[in-house]
């Protein structure tokens, strides 16, 4: 009952700042997508129009996640996880193939990627689990949540979708770091393991597709064979580097406009932006992302209960992970693993999922003043 009362309060300045940051990053994303695709002939509608449509859908998801009580949403965690697992299994059997991986479920004119939603659902599941379970032993703190994550991870890696798989593990690791492990040192080690995942886990190698192996090989030896394996990484670095301080200007990025840089509107949208806006633009974008994450951390640290704090922490961790890994990979620091840049890369599933997550975050903040539990 009291929930309702709180819901009706208007937006405060914190919310405005939060929303302004989200909109700014979304806007930069749409602009970059438009820049790189404006000369291409799209089928029905230009990419940037479609992205705006996704953002509108994402806004609906955002509002929905904002107004519903997150406790109620968290109670749905297990059934939702069941649905996600079913969809992941369905994708493996019937899904649409793209670049040798099956990731998509076709729904009429749309197709969506269950693995994107799986990330958010995993956050819900783990947050729900930790907030409800007394955490006394290793079994309850580490093993059980691990067992919860594992079926989703296996199904995602089976597609194979290395990027989503890594995000999955990252969410789990972040949760462990927050509440799962007693010792901070162990948490740090865990985080490192996630970072070094593609190198460390020899076993994953066998399950990778050729193009993924090539992408990883490209990281190991960046300059070898620009026409083949290292092509992506090299072209991306050329795009970013050639932007220099001031950039080449909107629509001026030769690397992306002339298609030397593949996937300019999706995974490599950061390189497009960096080429056209230069180091100054890059700093601005980093500041925007850091500010957004900072505000999100603020929400997590001021959450009124464990569930809220865990949800917020999980979402922030996922956001951080995706931003850092995506920029890192386009800048040639990490292997190219196919993680989209949140709020900027073109893509319906990722956009809607990210905005839903942010809605949930703000939900947590808006309820932190409620003393009712």
């Amino acid at each position: 009952m009291i929930d309702r009362l709180i819901d009706n309060r208007g937006l405060d300045s914190f919310d405005y700042r939060f929303l302004a940051l989200v909109l700014a990053i979304l806007g930069i994303g749409v602009l970059s997508i438009h820049s790189v695709t404006h000369s291409q002939q799209a089928g029905l509608a230009p990419y940037y129009i479609k992205q705006i449509a996704w953002i509108l859908m994402g806004s609906a998801a955002f509002v929905f996640m904002l107004v519903s009580d997150y406790h109620r949403i968290a109670r749905m965690a297990y059934p939702l996880y069941g649905v996600v697992l079913l969809m992941l299994a369905f994708v493996l059997l019937e899904g649409r193939t793209s670049k040798g991986a099956q990731r998509w479920i076709a729904l009429g004119p749309f197709s969506f990627q269950p693995s994107e939603f799986a990330k958010l659902v995993l956050i819900l599941v783990l947050a729900h689990y930790y907030s409800k379970t007394p955490r006394v032993g290793w079994l309850q703190r580490v093993i059980m949540p691990g067992m919860l994550m594992l079926p989703g991870l296996v199904l995602i890696l089976k597609q194979p979708d290395l990027g989503s798989g890594l995000s999955f593990v990252a969410v789990y690791a972040a949760m462990l770091l927050m509440v799962g492990v007693r010792s901070k040192a162990l948490g740090v080690i865990l985080l490192l393991v996630v970072m070094l995942f593609p190198f460390a886990w020899e076993g994953v190698w066998g399950s990778l597709h050729d193009y993924q192996r090539q992408r990883i090989m490209a990281f190991v030896d960046q300059d070898y064979d620009p026409g083949g394996k290292g092509y992506h990484a090299l072209q991306s670095r050329i795009a970013i580097g050639s932007g220099e301080l001031m950039g080449k200007g909107l629509y001026g990025g030769t690397q992306s406009q002339l298609k030397f840089l593949p996937e300019g509107h999706t995974d490599f949208v950061f390189a497009v932006y960096a080429e056209e806006w230069g180091f100054l633009g890059v700093l601005l974008l980093l500041v925007l992302f850091v500010a957004l994450i900072w505000l999100s951390l603020e929400i997590a640290s001021k959450a009124k209960d464990q569930l809220g704090a865990l949800l917020a922490a999980g979402i922030v961790a996922m956001l951080c992970f995706c931003v850092v890994v995506n920029i890192g990979m386009t800048a040639g620091m990490f292997p190219i693993v196919g993680i989209p840049l949140p709020l900027m890369s073109y893509g319906g599933s990722a956009t809607v999922m990210t905005m839903a997550s942010l809605g949930l975050l703000l939900n947590v903040k808006r309820r932190r003043l409620s003393l009712f539990y």
Binding site: P134, R135, A174, L177, M178, V179, K184, G187, V188, L191, G227, Q235, R237, I238, A239, I240, G241, S242, G243, E244, L245, T254, Q255, L258, K259, F260, P262, A274, E275, G278, F279, V282, L283, L286, F289, V290, I293, W294, L297, A300, S301, K302, A303, D305, Q306, A309, L310, A313, V316, A317, C320, V324, I327, G328, A331, G332, M333
Partner: protein, 612 residues
């Protein structure tokens, strides 16, 4: 409540741990910023270069060759647009696949394509694979653009000879520069695929006509397809040539030879201008300028009639009785004979044990120099040859331009041979035999000349000893400045003979046409002086056989050298008709036709100045 307080403390712990995430975030974002600073600021210029290289390609723009006109401005060689196929290896991902694709689409030989791609050079520079693509082929390539990364169709100018086979030997032809030529300093600024003159005037004046290649920087996309032109250095077209020939006269000369092998050279003795230079059999320079298949090459090179041979400047033949002209001059000038002293001709000349026959078995009776030339009496010239000796004969022959290059601006001019005792020692490593002097006196034996040399010789006689280097190009028009640079007539050393000698000789040569061996050259419109010649090609005892029974390839070559008008010579002509028998019947009428045509053309319009 215990649970609640545990919960509270756990929440507190959790929220304290968020600090870790904050620190981690700043650390990692800091790392990213440093990395991006490194990429964009420190290595920015390096990557900027890489991106420029990525997107820009240099395309060489072939220049249009200069045009070639005849002396009246009639177009003999121009350029027509043509499609050329280029491949830039830098943009080719699958080389073998591309080779197969091109071979299938255009019906080309994959081996040829591979060979062209394998030529050394920058991967960034497009390599020419084929020129003269048909419109259909060019369209096929353009419509398959997306499947053919790195492939480019370029419109270039292609050499064209609108008059086909006319003046082919003189004009020559063009072709792609050969690897050997590329090594030479005069082709230093050229590159693989450049078109250079390979024969004729196209070759000897190549550096004037060639022009200068330009360069175009184009922006390409990831598939190597041209998007935009960044910068253009226009190619400079080559200079235009105005030749000395009159294409109408040239055509008449070529038609006169028809299907026979031979050469006709017509010069202006007062300037050295080459008015016509026909050689048969001929070839089509349009075909030769194309890329020939090895089979086509073999066919042309192995053709027994040797159509690529310019018989006018490269064919070496015994001059036969035409050689009597310089010999007669030699006899007068060396005081071996006075004009009035006679020799008795009984149809043969005994030297040692051998009898040298006159062409007229019954003999000419008493002949002086005048009569000896008119009737082409061999015994008279045997006699004076014997008296002068081979070395003196050689001296006078050389004085009239025989035995050395005329200096015409054509590649590979041959010089023939004017024997002497020293010559025989040097070339044959043997001593001169006195009997050899006798056959040399009537232009047989070791004596060989080119038709061009003979035209120059008779022109020198007609011009009273003043001789000019044969001139093919009278002016060069600079395409950039528009200046017309006239090529001056180049005088050569004056032949050493008294005016009186020339008068006597010319009088006799005029009589050759009016009453002697060349009455078939007699013209109703112009006075002609000349000398016939019948050059033996074999020493078979053929006097005993009728001409028509001898297989053609053993028949004599027919010569006629002439000039006209006798009073003030404007044209000197040498006609050589291979295996056509007697000069008087086979060669003289041809010379007459050429001379009459020229005189008519001259009377129609003022000659000389090229029209722009």
């Amino acid at each position: 409540m215990a649970t609640s307080s545990t919960h509270e403390s756990e929440l507190g712990e959790l929220q304290r741990r968020l600090m870790l995430l904050r620190v981690g975030l700043l650390l990692v974002v800091g790392l990213l910023a440093v990395r991006l600073w490194h990429l964009q600021i420190r290595e920015g210029p390096y990557y900027r270069d890489l991106s420029e290289n990525n997107r820009t390609r240099s395309v060489l723009l072939e220049p249009a060759r200069g045009l070639i006109y005849d002396r009246h401005g009639v177009l003999l060689a121009n350029n027509v647009p043509s499609f050329s196929l280029y491949v830039t290896l830098e943009d080719v991902k699958d080389r073998e696949g591309l080779v197969q694709n091109l071979a299938d689409l255009l019906g080309l030989d994959p081996v040829m394509i591979r060979k062209k791609l394998a030529v050394r050079g920058s991967k960034m520079l497009p390599k020419k694979i084929k020129d003269r693509l048909t419109l259909r082929d060019a369209t096929v390539i353009e419509s398959h653009r997306l499947d053919l990364p790195g492939v480019m169709i370029q419109v270039e100018s292609q050499r064209n000879y609108p008059r086909g086979m006319a003046a082919a030997h003189l004009l020559g032809y063009v072709g792609e520069i050969s690897p050997e030529q590329l090594e030479k300093p005069e082709f230093a600024d050229l590159h693989q695929g450049s078109i250079v003159g390979q024969y004729g005037v196209e070759k000897s004046f190549d550096r004037h006509v060639r022009g200068q290649a330009g360069q175009k920087s184009v922006e390409v996309d990831a598939l190597g397809h041209e998007k935009r032109t960044v910068q253009v250095d226009k190619p400079l077209a080559g200079n235009d040539l105005y030749l000395t020939i009159d294409i109408r006269l040239q055509k008449v000369a070529e038609d006169l030879l028809g299907e026979e092998s031979g050469a006709i050279v017509a010069l202006d003795p007062t300037s050295g201008d080459v008015l016509a230079m026909a050689s048969r059999p001929g070839f089509d320079p349009n075909i030769m300028s194309r890329e020939l298949t090895p089979k086509q090459w073999v066919e042309i090179v192995q053709d027994e009639r040797r159509p690529l041979n310019n018989r006018a400047s490269q064919g070496q033949y015994p001059p036969g009785s035409t050689f009597k002209v310089p010999m007669a001059i030699a006899a007068l000038e060396s005081n071996t004979m006075s004009p009035s002293s006679s020799v008795l001709c009984t149809g043969g000349y005994q030297f040692g044990k051998r009898i040298y026959h006159d062409w007229k078995a019954s003999g000419h009776g008493y002949v002086d120099l005048h009569k000896a030339l008119i009737q082409s009496c061999d015994v008279y010239f045997y006699t004076i040859g014997q008296r002068m000796g081979i070395d003196m004969m050689a001296e006078y022959a050389k004085d009239f331009g025989l035995g050395h290059e005329t200096g015409i601006e054509l590649p590979s001019e041959r010089v023939g041979s004017i024997p002497s005792t020293a010559w025989k020692l040097k070339v044959k490593k043997e001593a001169w035999l006195p009997g050899e002097t006798i056959s040399a006196a009537i232009g047989q034996g070791y004596v060989t000349v080119t038709p061009l040399q003979m035209a120059s010789m008779i022109g020198t006689v007609a011009n009273d000893g003043v001789s000019y280097r044969p001139r093919l190009v009278q002016a060069i028009m600079d395409r950039i400045t528009g200046n017309l640079q006239e090529m001056p007539a180049v005088a050569r050393g004056k032949a050493h003979a008294k005016p009186e000698t020339f008068r006597i000789i010319k009088e006799a040569l005029a009589a050759v046409v009016t009453e002697g061996t060349a009455t078939r050259a007699k013209s109703s419109i112009v006075t002609i002086g000349g000398k016939t010649g019948t050059a033996q090609t074999t020493a078979l005892g053929k006097e005993k056989r009728a001409e028509k029974d001898i297989p053609k390839k053993f028949r004599d070559h027919a010569w006629f050298v002439a000039f006209a008008p006798v009073e003030a010579p404007k044209i000197a002509v040498a006609v050589l008709a291979e295996h056509m028998g007697h000069g008087g019947s086979a060669a003289a009428p041809l010379a007459k036709e050429v001379i009459e045509t020229y005189m008519k053309l001259r009377s129609q319009e003022p000659a000389g100045v090229p029209q722009s």
